[in-house]
């Protein structure tokens, strides 16, 4: 089943074109890595997929499970199972983590026509998910991301993902700011969530993450286009030769 189809996607911010014709198909159960140098458009792609304000889509389409995503609000996408793990998770002072988790889960459940979980069932569920990312229960009662270390913030993102069980997860630079131990914990969490019904797109600058979460496909994004696609060996090649060679690649070479 096709989970996501991006066709000839062009997007601008403040009139400047950042995405210049992206084509990408992700099937159910696949893990794709999107790599590329700074400024290639990686974060723009994840923001556009999640529906962030401020980007204008000038051409092309994004189909999620066959449905056009572009006209949907961010929350409508989220409720349908599109999840973005943020590169910089946002702090919300005074709002406890457990409150946000519960509100998010209930918003998704409501869309699915399910009843809200009561406090006891919810807590049981959250505890089981917290084991995945080795989080202590005290995290539930702290304000969302406030005073969290880099590693804690990223683990919190994966906890949210584990709880919401999205069909399509976009992991934006999940490895940034993580030491080796934290990287391992986060990766193990993500790997545990790999499933034949779930697709993932990992956006990363470095190959390092792909040692822990091994992708099915690797794409190189440069100057707003996918200039090369391959399997996990492509990432190794990039590590050896860096990104400089792709600037020499002829226009229009893509997946």
């Amino acid at each position: 089943m096709k989970m996501l189809e991006i066709k000839n996607l062009h997007a601008t911010i403040d009139g400047k074109e950042i995405l210049k014709g992206i084509d990408l198909t992700v099937n159910a159960g696949e893990v794709h890595a999107i790599m590329g140098p700074n400024g290639a458009g990686k974060s723009t792609l994840s923001n556009v997929l999640a529906g962030r304000d401020g980007y204008e889509i000038t051409q092309g389409e994004i189909l999620y499970k066959g449905e056009n995503l572009i006209d949907l609000e961010p929350e409508e996408r989220a409720q349908r199972g599109v999840f973005l793990a943020f590169q910089y998770p946002v702090e919300i002072p005074g709002v406890s983590n457990i409150y946000l988790l519960k509100a998010a889960l209930n918003a998704v459940r409501k869309y699915q026509g399910l009843d809200e979980l009561d406090a006891i069932d919810f807590l049981t569920l959250v505890r089981s998910k917290m084991e995945l990312v080795k989080m202590d229960e005290q995290f539930l009662h702290r304000s969302v991301n406030e005073g969290f270390s880099g590693g804690e913030k990223k683990r919190n993102e994966i906890l949210q993902m584990a709880l919401l069980e999205p069909a399509l997860a976009i992991l934006d630079e999940t490895d940034s700011g993580l030491d080796i131990d934290a990287l391992r914990i986060v990766s193990e969490g993500v790997n545990a969530l790999r499933d034949t019904d779930r697709s993932m797109i990992m956006i990363t600058h470095y190959q390092r993450l792909l040692d822990y979460i091994v992708p099915d496909y690797v794409h190189v994004l440069s100057n707003g286009r996918i200039v090369k696609s391959g399997d996990k060996d492509l990432a190794k090649e990039l590590e050896r030769s860096g990104y400089s060679w792709i600037h020499d690649a002829p226009e229009g070479v893509g997946a």
């Binding site: 304000d53 401020g54 996408r77 998770p89 919300i92 005074g94 709002v95 509100a103 998010a104 918003a107």
Partner: protein, 482 residues
């Protein structure tokens, strides 16, 4: 303006749900103010001579005063001759003896507003005194409270039954000379609540007053007096609403609290007076003087307020810390939207030794509103080792509103310690997008972020009130972040 800002703008434009008018006959005095009107109010209430004299002194003093102009608010001059100073629902008898005798139309009004007046009150454990326009219409649980010697009744009734207490305490915290609106209130106040908690008694339930302005062109000038004798405790709740009317209505109340040795008074307000429409038409002018005296040693008074209504708010619940080791607290959330203006804060006057005070103020401005915090912390010469901590945070929603902070600090004792922290922030697009990406719609996201911002204050409210306050915050902020 970005889409998100626009969404927030729409979101903050919600209708005022308490804005209906109750169709009930009322007896009102014709508009206008002079000594005859004051004599008439006093006569209707069958007041003792001393009270009439006090009213007249207040009135004569008021005539010599000028409208205060220092507050950061702007409004056309109030025409005090156009206001009716007394309005009461028409009664068939001399006043309700029990709930059965209260006009069912009135009861329905309070039911609509969610005030538990009848059996529901017992379940909720809240004793309610409801003030409709100028008079108290129902007062639940008086008998039960009386068993413990607690007096909880309309002020007009207390004047008849406990004139000596009234004579002793009325105006003892807020004298009629205090300020322009306090003088006016002292001259024309019509009713309000009176509470006396005897020595050593812990009031077993929350006491509550619900204020409702219904009639057009009336002012509401209620007066509340609460006395907690040695070692007593009471928690008191106050709620307010008014119908939507195009003209402005004046609410000039006075609240006086007296805490004796080791007594504690907790006073919570959820104020949702009609704020006017989005163009600033109509709404309540809320010019209120609230002050507590911590007379006894180790006494404590906490003010907690959630202010979302009124066209103009001018209000500084204060604590005079006379007794050694006494404690004053002020927790406030003030929300302004559309054309609302608020100039609110507190005064902590430290006179006794080792007195301490805490001020937590959260201002939220949206639309084209103006929200000012004004606070005075004064450490008197005898206030050895007195301490104050002030935290003053402002949250801006949108780019056409404003937040102001005016702290005044006076320290006359070298051992006193004063801390002041202030911050101003905006609800960021990042926060909103983050919440929306987790499935929350804009309204829920804003409400969640705002409630998080106000958490330190909300958690000071009694449980039932906290829920009401949280809902109100969401409602009041339909449409203004950026």
């Amino acid at each position: 303006m970005t889409d998100q800002t626009q969404q927030l703008e729409t979101l903050t434009r919600k209708e005022y749900s308490a804005g209906f008018v109750t169709d009930i006959e009322s007896d009102s005095l014709p508009p206008g103010l002079n000594e005859d009107v004051i004599r008439e109010i006093s006569r209707i209430k069958n007041e003792p001579e001393f009270l009439l004299e006090w009213r007249l002194k207040a009135y004569r003093h008021w005539l010599t005063m000028d409208t205060p102009i220092w507050a950061h608010v702007q409004y056309p001059e109030v025409d005090f001759q156009a206001i009716s100073y007394y309005s009461a629902p028409k009664k068939k008898t001399d006043g309700p003896k029990s709930l059965d005798e209260v006009d069912p139309e009135l009861l329905r009004t309070y039911e609509k507003l969610g005030v538990p007046l009848d059996e529901r009150a017992r379940l909720a454990g809240v004793a309610v005194d409801a003030v409709f326009d100028s008079v108290s219409v129902a007062n639940t649980f008086q008998d039960k409270l009386a068993e413990q010697g607690i007096i909880f009744m309309p002020l007009s009734k207390a004047v008849q039954e406990y004139p000596e207490l009234i004579k002793q305490y009325l105006g003892s915290v807020v004298p009629y000379q205090d300020n322009y609106y306090a003088a006016l209130n002292s001259a024309v106040f019509s009713d309000g609540s009176f509470v006396y908690i005897p020595k050593g008694v812990r009031c077993p339930m929350e006491l509550s007053t619900y204020f409702r302005i219904n009639a057009a062109n009336t002012g509401q000038f209620e007066r509340t007096l609460i006395i907690a004798d040695d070692d007593a405790y009471v928690s008191y709740l106050e709620g307010c609403t008014a119908p939507m009317r195009d003209e402005n209505q004046l609410h000039a109340a006075v609240v006086e609290l007296v805490a004796m040795n080791r007594a504690e008074i907790k006073y919570s307000t959820v104020q949702n007076w009609y704020p006017g429409d989005e163009n600033g038409k109509g709404g309540i002018y809320n010019f209120v003087t609230k002050r507590a005296a911590c007379r006894g040693e180790s006494s404590k008074v906490s003010w907690t307020q959630v202010e979302t209504g009124s066209a103009i708010t001018w209000k500084y619940p204060s604590v005079v810390l006379q007794g050694d080791n006494s404690v004053g607290e002020f927790y406030s959330v003030a929300v302004t939207n559309n054309m609302q203006q608020a100039d609110t804060g507190t005064k902590m006057i430290h006179l006794g030794k080792n007195t301490s005070s805490t001020i937590i103020s959260k201002g939220i401005s949206a639309g084209r509103s103006q929200n000012a915090y004004r606070g005075l912390v004064r450490m008197g010469p005898n206030a050895e080792n007195a301490r104050n901590y002030t935290e003053c945070d402002s949250l801006l929603m949108g780019d056409r509103c404003a937040a102001h902070t005016f702290p005044y600090i006076e320290v006359k004792n070298p051992t006193a310690k004063v801390e002041h922290e202030a911050s101003t922030s905006k609800i960021s697009e990042d926060q909103l997008f983050y919440c929306k990406q987790r499935g929350l719609d804009t309204e829920d996201a804003v409400s969640m972020i705002v409630n998080g911002f106000c958490k330190q204050v909300i958690r000071e409210l009694p449980m039932e009130f906290a829920v009401e306050a949280q809902n109100l915050l969401g409602l009041s902020l339909e449409g203004s972040v950026g």
